[in-house]
Subunit: 113 residues, 2 copies
């Protein structure tokens, strides 16, 4: 897992998938799955980066070249299995938001947007 | 602070501001500012919700009715002061991404998107 650094994304536009979740108690294979999904996401066409943090609430933002790349990742078999198990076992609540990043700026390059 | 629950946002489209950061060591007034900024954000026109977590990496996603509402919040005086101090003192690195949420689905309502 490497979601602990700020993703080095290109100039917008690109796609962000914001996945917010509340866990059920206990691990139940969650940590292993999460590491595997991040590893697998990095291999997909159009993957740009991933950022994640959990502090009660979990937030994972994955970045993709476009909506089609994000949609394709949603359909990858091993990921579909994980999504099903997430709904059944790991998540008490979750929300997925697919968004188009239109502006970005940061500490590295001063104000771009 | 109440960024520990999943924001109850309306049907898309709406605007998400994804703020990712790495802190400098020590508090230096950070916790108080963060609580105040969340309190202040909730009072702004077009505010829809906020979610945040920090685990090494900090991720805060605020949701707004549209880009204009998000841009207006960026210009609120007390927030401008906090942004300046953030660049100078609190953040070792950060990135802000402004995005348009186009699809959303979650546990509460089955698949919408």
């Amino acid at each position: 897992m490497d979601g602990v650094s700020i993703a080095r994304t290109p100039e917008p536009p690109y796609t962000a998938v914001i996945f917010t979740s509340l866990r059920t108690p206990g691990d139940q294979g969650y940590a292993r799955m999460a590491a595997r999904m991040e590893e697998l996401a990095r291999l997909q066409p159009g993957f740009l980066g991933i950022e994640s943090a959990r502090e009660g609430l979990g937030i994972t933002v994955s970045y993709w070249s476009d909506d089609a790349a994000a949609a394709a990742w949603k359909q990858v078999h091993e990921h579909v299995v994980a999504q099903d198990r997430g709904r059944e076992v790991w998540y008490a609540d979750y929300e997925v938001r697919v968004a188009t990043v239109t502006r970005a700026y940061g500490a590295r390059d001063g104000e771009r947007g």
